[in-house]
Symmetry: C2
Subunit: 218 residues, 2 copies
DNA sequence: TAGATTGTTAATCGATTAACAATC
DNA sequence: TAGATTGTTAATCGATTAACAATC
């Protein structure tokens, strides 16, 4: 084990490992090798071993990794051994879809508050959580020790919401709005806007041999 | 301009550029430099110039990039100068949220078909599209020349749906299900599962100096 | 002309993969 | 023991950034 700084690429693979290991548990598989993991997850086995070795010697030579032990370790690394409170800002379609997803729950992530500006939404319940007006955001976040905010408001409001979240003490943001947020360096932001993902897929629909971009004339 | 193979990282930035350029158009900005772009999008200006230069000489030395010209070029590169038909499989909460997002529309992406297995859903309308039973998938996809599939079914069904989409002739998949799909190499898959994104955020909530993962005992 | 900014090469940085000794 | 598989080093690959001549 080394004490290098762990790269984002490594951290983002940990939940993928965790997810698959949980599946293995359900199938009552006790042990797994980096080779098997690599095959199922479409990753290089050496990469998987290296990723895990950043955090400790979790495997056994000649055997592989004990599934439940590795789950426990990854959960610990990701801070999922404690409950992590999440706030959702924006109770529109997408926000509702996300709050109904209680897949987080089993991983100790819990949406504990939902906010919206629209009067018609405020006071209604989404997945047993009452939608609050946005001016209660700071209060609620502080009181409930919320650490992560999920932004599902329109792009035009996203920066303002992010600023409020940050001044309320939030540490990380999952941003679904189609804008690049300006945030201090100690705040972690992951962009989850799927429109850019979808548009980039379009690039691969055509054999570019047929197409000469440079000489495309207006 | 070169004829190297363009990396995925470059392609994924193109929609980000496009999105911001569209904003500039609305503000009636005519010209933009890589420096300005870099500042707003939190990217290195040299990277932006290099990205664009893969596809042609779009800028003017001493001036910068003509906003509307660059928009046109990027749209052409991404194949967004023609309508691209999309199918959505899974009319649950998330599927509904995505189909209501008609932000694609202005970029020539259109959801033309929605499928589900649940009888209660079939025949109902989502955003003016009638939900079809999944056994009509192949037929509809072929008839409507659908090129991209968005998978919003449960993980347990995702692989089966992907297989059907592929045999129906689809070229690219945006996968929201929490599984790694097995697909032929000529099929482009982007994973959009936000649970892994969210879980990875948890890693950054704690100063790891306080925490010694290696010596964490079970 | 002077200032600004591109396109591109070279340098750097970082991430992935191969290879293998250690060892279960 | 023989076979399997880890942890880790070294090699490779690829992506980002710096620097600058060209030029508007």
């Amino acid at each position: 084990m080394k004490s290098e700084k762990i790269s984002d690429a490594v951290v983002r693979r940990l939940p993928v490992y965790l997810r698959f290991l949980n599946q293995l548990t359900m199938q009552e598989v006790l042990t797994v090798s980096s080779q098997e993991l690599g095959q199922k997850l479409d990753l290089n086995p050496a990469q998987i071993r290296k990723d895990l070795a950043y955090f400790g010697d979790f495997g056994r030579k000649g055997i592989g990794y004990d599934v439940s032990y590795l789950i426990e370790k990854i959960r610990y690394i990701l801070n999922l051994d404690q409950q992590i409170n999440v706030a959702l800002i924006g109770a529109g379609n997408l926000g509702q879809a996300l709050s109904n997803y209680n897949a987080y729950l089993k991983d100790n992530m819990k949406i504990v508050a939902v906010f919206d500006t629209y009067e018609g939404k405020i006071g209604t319940s989404i997945n047993n959580i009452v939608v609050q007006p946005i001016d209660q955001l700071t209060d609620t976040i502080v009181k409930n020790n919320v650490k992560i905010g999920i932004i599902t408001v329109p792009g035009s409001e996203a920066q303002r919401v992010a600023d409020e979240l940050i001044s309320a003490g939030i540490r990380a943001i999952l941003n679904f709005a189609p804008v690049i947020l300006k945030t201090p360096p100690d705040i972690r932001v992951h962009n989850a806007d799927f429109t850019t993902d979808l548009l980039s897929l379009a690039y691969y629909l055509q054999d570019k041999d047929d197409k000469d971009v440079a000489s495309h004339e207006s």
